[in-house]
Amino acid sequence: MAHAVRLTVNGTTHAHEVEPRLLLVHFLRDVLGLTGTHVGCDTSQCGACTVLVDGAAVKSCTSFAVQADGADIRTIEGLATGEALHPIQQAFWEKHGLQCGFCTPGMVMTLVQVLERNPDPTEAEVRSGIAGNLCRCTGYENIVEAARHAAAAMRAARA
């Protein structure tokens, strides 16, 4: 039985009829065509599917689209402002925080929440903030560097 959902994704409102079992990640990828959000596991470990639901980082493979009815969702595609990358994206580029790039969207979206709530995190705080995001390429060091670099840039922009 299909259920009507209405939700905002990256500022655009979408209304669809969905099967209750449709995972939020498949709604984003297969229904809306927003394929920047990836699926990396099936047990809620890897975080590649992380998006922001009402500002909170959520594993969209561990969430049904029906649960997001009425929600405001932000995905990696909605992060940059036109040509200008978000400071976290920019920092990943500068600090070589990605290799194959598959975990990157989820990693970046998690860090959006981490840095919003903690504008000047220690290295340990960054590492614990991304404990639910697995990366097999980078060994995390440059991701941590990028996060702290982005935090500094975001602080400077606000000052």
């Binding site: 990943f92 598959f102 975990c103 697995l134």
Partner: protein, 761 residues
């Protein structure tokens, strides 16, 4: 005369990154074609069973289901996937992997049927409607038992479970043992690991009947190999098959393969006349994408001054139930690499490949190297303990001296260059070796146990046989845009950036004006892909040769414009210069274009011999006396990798390689129960490192250029993963030196360490 600053050696930001950061990458599962169907794979729940019947009628009748393919449908239609013949396979028949199981399944996870439906949900639902009647058989799980002559044979018609034998060695080993002051013996197990690339496998195939052309997008490291195999399996003229590796989310060796699912999906697209896509789940990926799996007995003959006089290695490699195309590769590497960086005059090494009821193994980052490193580097530490010498001093005494290169080991490897002692000294400095030793002497009773361990290893790059052949083509348009087509098929290695840097130094093109194209079999006739750390040493060298031709041509054109001899032209930083006159790079390419019509330069390159890179790693650990938990407090590494093109990319490879090695040391292992069921079949149970458990890395590098290739390159991709695991293991065993336990196999999980702690001397 001081030349312009080269681009080589600069930490240029990667050209690959922006679209990946914007979520605009194109991985296979991101792709959608009109009319596309989705596939799901039914896998064997048994390690070993007869398949009495497969009844797909209910699934086929399900609304939305386009087809269900079973082993009965493919038997006699799709041949088995032929193993690549390698040294050591001899005359023994090699069990080949069927595309879909027919009559028998030989491991948990083996594909039994494929359902194709309008969406991925329906395809998955259809699997529940396929009825398979299995008759379970006794599985063959223990490689040691399976190798015995009286063991039950896994494959009917075979005379033995030992299907492969590789060996290496030279010198009088018996004499070495007769002359030894000490003989050190040890047994090891190096468990199977799952590669866990963040992107699981995925394949999309489309068939155009009008032109009889099949296009396959697949998450692979070796598109040309996939093409070659599809051509022979389907069968189909190679000219009608195009294989594309789009963005690939990591491979680590387990995408150097031609998988049964790739063949089945291509076949179905052709049969159904509609595009078919399959995207693997993580649980499928873990139970199918595995490497390592070795046991070994090692003996070392040692003189009282620490010189190793001779060694024997008897290894067993768990090949799994069948040989896929790369299954036979790692053992041949392992038997040679046990020589390590040491001048050991007599060695006798043998590795038997044994079939078991597990998924076929294959190369996983290091591919025989990390296995060999565990054996030699743990043994070196045991020798040191036995004769009461510091393990660092023992290594120094046995190193191949810096003036001995090229040096051929007793296992037949010829090392090109290196300065092992220098790299080791530097890593000890970074890790604070002397300080840690002092700390250990003054450690308070009851506090954490501190250990420091080193590993010194050598790793070949460029692979063997035709993997050492590379191809490249350079095309330059009139406006000066350069396109480099390479047979390297990257997935995170930054090839688009480092090749642009090579081009910038050779022909003076600004790097941003260079496009690097890869991963498409229509671009080049052949290709080795990304394997065996061959990217720069082989692929980079091929590009270098093509670029050299371009330089010669552009220098001639520039000479015409500048009124000088070609030899007097310098091409750098976007212009051609002779003395005080210069013209822009675009002017030069425009002039050459006017004369030639097109600027196309093709090159083939064969790496004449492998470059050998060197790594010295040092780990400092604290062992919790109460729980056995190991905390990594410091990790230092020095790599000698010849010339460096982009140091930022190299550091990234090092970070990732060390981290995978630490995973092997501390948490990762595929565990099976006696019935052949994988107990670590998801990321809930198979633990890869997280940001929270990794330390910061202390790094340095040396550059002993390799004489084997024009760029002086030695590959970095696998090197850190070879050294890191055993450095950590040596550190933990150093922390446990007060116990009676000489060795613990990896992963060094807290319980194993705690058990060792209970045996305090």
């Amino acid at each position: 005369m001081a030349g312009p600053t080269p681009f080589r050696g600069r930490p240029l930001r990667r050209f690959e990154d922006e679209r990946l950061l914007r979520g605009e990458g194109s991985f296979v599962d991101d792709m959608r074609l009109p009319g596309m169907l989705h596939a799901a794979v039914l896998r064997s729940p048994h390690a070993h069973a007869l398949v009495r019947s497969v009844d797909a009628s209910r699934a086929r009748a399900m609304p939305g289901v386009a087809a269900v393919l079973t082993g009965e449908d493919t038997a006699g239609v799709l041949p088995n996937i032929a193993a690549v013949r390698r040294e050591g396979m001899g005359e023994t028949p090699i069990p080949e992997h069927p595309v879909l199981a027919h009559e028998r399944v030989c491991y948990v996870g083996q594909p039994v049927a494929i359902a194709v439906a309008e969406d991925r949900y329906a395809a998955r639902d259809a699997l529940d409607l396929i009825d398979v009647d299995y008759e379970p058989l006794e599985p063959v799980m223990d490689p040691r038992a399976a190798a015995r002559p009286d063991a039950p044979v896994l494959h009917p018609g075979s005379s033995s479970n030992v299907v492969m034998r590789t060996a290496a060695g030279a010198g009088d080993v018996d004499a070495a043992f007769a002359a030894a002051d000490h003989v050190v013996r040890a047994s090891f197990e190096v468990p199977r690991l799952a590669a866990v690339p963040m992107e699981c496998r995925a394949t999309l195939a489309e068939y155009d009947a009008g032109s009889d052309s099949l296009t396959v997008w697949t998450s692979t490291q070796v598109p040309h190999r996939v093409k070659t195999y599809l051509a022979s399996l389907l069968p189909k003229a190679p000219g009608h098959i195009r294989v594309i590796a789009p963005d690939v989310g990591g491979g680590f060796g387990r995408k150097i393969e031609v998988w049964p699912e790739e063949v089945a999906v291509a076949y179905l697209a052709q049969q159904l006349g509609r595009p078919v896509k399959w995207a693997e789940d993580r649980s499928e990926n873990i139970v199918t994408g595995q490497g390592r799996g070795y046991t070994a007995d090692v003996e070392a003959a040692v003189a009282s001054d620490g010189r190793v006089l001779g060694m024997r290695f008897r290894m067993l490699a768990d090949m799994g139930a069948y040989f896929l195309t790369s299954t036979g590769g790692p053992p041949g590497n392992a038997v040679q690499r046990v020589a390590g960086p040491y001048a050991i005059p007599a060695m006798d090494v043998e590795c038997l490949g044994v079939v078991t009821n597990r998924v076929p193994t294959g190369p996983y980052r290091g591919a025989g190297g990390p296995e060999a490193a565990v054996l030699i580097e743990r043994t070196m530490d045991m020798i040191a303990a036995e004769i009461g010498m510091d393990p660092v001093e023992l290594r120094r005494r046995n190193f191949i001296p810096a003036d001995a290169f090229p040096y051929t080991t007793a296992t037949g490897l010829t090392y090109d260059s290196g300065d092992f002692a220098r790299a080791l000294d530097r890593v000890l400095e970074l890790a604070g070796y002397a300080e840690v030793r002092k700390q250990q002497r003054t450690a308070r009773a009851g506090g954490p146990l501190i250990g420091i361990g080193v590993a010194t290893i050598v790793k070949a790059s460029g692979g063997k046989a035709n993997v050492r052949n590379g191809e490249a083509r350079v095309e330059i348009d009139a406006a000066g845009h350069v396109v480099i087509y390479t047979d390297v098929s990257p997935h995170g290695q930054g090839i688009e950036t480092s090749f642009a840097q090579i081009a910038a130094d050779l022909i003076g093109v600004p790097p941003a004006q260079v496009s690097v194209r890869h991963g498409d079999t229509d671009m080049l006739a052949t290709g080795g892909g990304t394997t065996s750390s061959r990217g720069l040493a082989v692929g980079g060298s091929a590009a270098y040769l093509a670029l050299e031709q371009a330089r010669e041509r552009l220098a001639r054109a520039a000479a015409g414009l500048l009124g000088c001899a070609p030899a007097d032209v310098s091409l750098a930083d976007g212009s051609a210069t002779s003395g005080s006159s210069s013209v822009s790079f675009g002017d030069v390419t425009a002039a050459a274009h006017r004369e030639d019509g097109a600027l196309v330069f093709s090159a083939s390159y064969t790496l004449p011999a492998n470059p050998f890179a060197f790594a010295a790693h040092a780990a400092v650990v604290e062992v919790d006396r109460d729980t056995g938990d190991v905390a990594l407090v410091r990790f230092a590494a020095v790599h000698d990798i010849g010339r460096v093109i982009n140091p930022m990319i190299v550091r990234g490879q090092v970070h990732g390689g060390i981290t995978q090695g630490i995973g092997q040391a501390l948490s990762e292992a595929m565990v099976y129960d006696a019935a052949g069921q994988p107990l670590t079949g998801s990321l809930m149970t198979y633990g890869i490192p997280t940001a929270q458990t990794m330390p910061r890395f202390l790094l340095d590098q040396l550059e002993s250029p390799s004489p084997t290739n024009p760029l002086g390159i030695k590959g970095i991709g696998e090197l850190p993963t070879v050294a890191a695991p055993v450095a950590v293991a040596n550190a933990v065993m150093d922390a446990l030196r007060g116990t009676t336990t000489r060795h613990i196999d990896m992963p060094l999980l807290p319980e194993k360490v705690w058990r060792a702690l209970g045996e305090m001397a």
